[in-house]
Symmetry: C2
């Protein structure tokens, strides 16, 4: 067979050891902080039933699902407009991948017309599973399915890849990781506070200063109510979500097109440009919400969260931003979004309170709050800011040079000793030229190389080379591990 030139599907990536080290540095940091706050890990299958996934991400989302072709005879039973399965006539031999036991065929001329009408039905027939699109719907499904074995409030985190058939572009992949932390089964504001503490702790540990923007969906509802456009809440939310990208004027243009009255726009305008201290914003909104109980409640919740945060030694900047909207429809209370302070990059993480995520799977009335961390963007920011610690890149600490059979036996004993002391170590597999062995150590960023030739073995004093400084030292064989530690 001719050799294939290997490649991977567009939008996907291999992770080399260096990339793994960096990615794991992020995951390990995030995971440790989640655990510190009492969250427990779960994982769900890569494949979910399409009935679980479909209709949860909007029309656009449905199109971006990766679908799995049913295994085995996936065309069995295909019928209806334009397609029908036939029994055993026309069975074909000689194809390894042929359908077994039934055949895919099309009945008659008239079906050329109707066949196409059923692409959707056809697709449903041949594909019943899809790849996970996010970690939120699987969480809802998980909570409902395992509800009798879970301890509520259920605090879980989940770090897994998700797949989206998006057009790949710089920084946007078809396979990427999400790191989600959620609590389900309590409407206590303590959890919003806790999760903002988590954000604060994670970015402090990563040494990356961020700004945490906070708002509340009830405030947005209150605003739409107060300007006389309560029925336009979704339009207002979607438009406001773009304010950073397209600016206030374009947002107003869009809202006019979507049917907001001039009166409503006039009232909305000062809100879209609302700035200043929290106190001032609060005073402004308090007056606005004379006519909106929901708005008032949202403002109360927000102030409670902000006040608590102030007392809790949060190290990153947090601010109330009434323009923060977040696109997803399921949020009902607090919403937050986090940006790197000095790096122009989209949000690094975001989330909020939702009140009925599990309702669609038959368990209504469970409030939850969660935040999703975008590992790829965090990776890119840390890399651009040179914030990955050097230490994460070194793996093997000691390479033993191979001088031949006899010396090898001696070095193998040293090797065992190093490993027993917990030092990642290896021996070069063959007695090739020293330069080649040292090159190997350099390329793998191994900091120490031990040379145990005939002389060294006799004297019991090994030559230990520091690969960074180039320095060589004579160290007693029995003390090599101490020396490296």
């Amino acid at each position: 067979m001719a050799a294939q030139k290997p490649s991977i599907p567009k939008g996907t990536r291999d992770f080399t050891p260096v990339e793994m080290a960096r990615r794991n540095y992020i995951f390990d940091t995030i995971r440790a902080v989640f655990i510190l706050h009492g969250y427990q890990p779960i994982e769900t299958p890569a494949m979910e039933n399409l009935s679980t996934l479909m209709g949860k991400y909007g029309e656009e989302g449905d199109k971006l699902l990766f679908r799995i072709l049913n295994s085995g005879d996936y065309l069995k039973g295909v019928k209806g407009s334009g397609l029908r399965a036939q029994g055993s006539e026309h069975r074909t031999q000689g194809s390894e991948h042929r359908a077994q036991g039934s055949e895919w065929a099309v009945g008659s001329g008239q079906l050329a017309e109707s066949g196409i009408r059923d692409l959707s039905a056809f697709t449903q027939h041949i594909s019943e599973k899809g790849l996970r699109y996010d970690l939120t719907v699987p969480l809802a499904r998980f909570v409902v399915q395992h509800q009798h074995n879970l301890n509520f409030p259920f605090k879980r985190f989940q770090i897994q890849p998700v797949w989206r058939a998006d057009r790949p572009q710089k920084g946007r992949y078809r396979e990427f990781f999400q790191c989600d932390v959620d609590v389900i089964g309590s409407d206590s504001l303590l959890y919003e506070i806790e999760q903002i503490q988590i954000v604060d702790e994670i970015f402090t540990r990563l040494d990356l200063p961020v700004t945490i923007r906070i708002n509340n969906r009830k405030i947005l509802y209150g605003i739409s109510e107060a300007i006389g456009a309560a029925d336009k809440l979704t339009d207002i939310t979607i438009a406001m979500d773009k304010i950073d990208k397209i600016g206030v004027e374009k947002v107003i243009e869009e809202l006019t097109q979507r049917g907001l009255t001039d009166d409503a726009i006039t009232k909305l305008q000062p809100i879209l440009t609302l700035d200043g201290k929290i106190k001032e914003k609060k005073a402004f909104l308090e007056e606005l919400f004379n006519s909106s109980d929901t708005g008032k409640k949202g403002l109360d919740e927000l102030c409670h969260v902000l006040k608590y945060l102030k007392s809790l030694d949060v190290r990153n900047k947090f601010e109330f931003d009434v323009r923060l909207a977040r696109g997803l429809s399921y949020y009902t209370g607090t919403i937050i979004e986090v940006m790197a302070r000095d790096v122009p990059m989209g949000s690094l993480c975001g989330g909020g309170r939702y009140d009925d995520l599990t309702g669609i799977f038959g368990l209504p009335g469970l409030s939850g709050v969660g935040i999703s961390f975008g590992a790829d963007r965090i990776y890119d920011v840390l890399l651009s800011q040179d914030l990955f610690p050097d230490a994460i890149l070194s793996t093997t600490q000691l390479l033993l040079v191979n001088f031949g059979e006899e010396e090898e036996r001696f070095s193998m004993q040293l090797l065992m000793k190093a490993r027993k002391a917990g030092i990642p170590a290896e021996i070069y597999p063959e007695p090739v030229k020293l330069k080649k062995q040292l090159d190997y150590a350099n390329r793998k960023q191994i900091p120490y190389v031990a040379l145990a030739g005939k002389e060294e073995i006799e004297s019991g004093m090994i030559t230990l080379k520091n690969m960074k400084t180039g320095e060589q030292q004579s160290v007693s064989a029995s003390r090599i591990t101490e020396y490296i530690q």
Copy 2:
């Protein structure tokens, strides 16, 4: 919308926090030992091009691949026997998922006959990607694709799920994890030895005694040569692989059916029942291999490995088993297989030397050796033998009881203190009945609960309850973290 009863695809699993803790205990142990021996992690995408996967796992394997339906208009351009794409006639409106820009239709009556002949072509057309079936083929693809950036010998490990459309049954899943460790680019026997040391170290750390069975494919070739059936090597390998399951007699029956001569069978019989000390087996084979250089070489390799292992303080039992064959066709030298010593269960891990894994992707002549650990079987054995340490199950160490707004503020400060000291801790989110809060702690296996009510706050002495013993103690607020540590 009516509530959906949630479920997951058959053969897949959710991992609850308890299962995650157990699984991560295995992964963490395996990973730490891999790193200790100088192996570095990589990861590859869940999806590979089908051109990468097809033809690598035999006919059976091809059928077990999960295929991804192409995204977008997957029927575009479908034509040929029975299928053709049409331009713009018959465009259908009103279906969200309709194909865009072309239509799927079937031409004429005669195609009912020819349509089926092209199921294989049709499948290829609508699906170009598949889910990873193992970690070996992706490794080969990775090595060839990144060859200019890798440091050879390339020592990598990989812990990721794989997917197979196998019939699900007890202990066999459609999504399961493999933990593979391989080195590519050296034929040094030191790597066989190193990987057996890895096996020994991992099962020692897991406290699970195992037997490591070792053989060499060259010995099997030598045997087939010596009995005059060199052309039947594959048949002999496949049949011998079943010896543990079906017994010697059935193996001989199978080989007779596959055309082995009576003479060959007569010569093979004593080999199939060969037992005794390594020395005796060696003597027997040495004589047998007078006529087989390959056999001799295999025996030399094997003896070198065994001799080295003896000098290296291997704690688990290892044995030379001439009947060990391992099914996979790509092995060319050392093969090993590991079983739990006292538990009837299939092999927990296995692997061996292969000489041309990357050839199919255009990089011939790279020898490698690797071992794959079956996480699920190891999980089942550890569970059945009660070998999971209790400590892995506890996550949160301290729960602060919530007595109301004022006390909560005080407890939140304690909570921060505990977390700063590295103690995973949380507060109950609402001031509900104490019993409910203690129940929460119990179900989550939280060992300590701190009660800071009005009195405690005034006196500065917190009540700390040990949830295992039920004991309560009065501890100074400032010393709670020390106490728990």
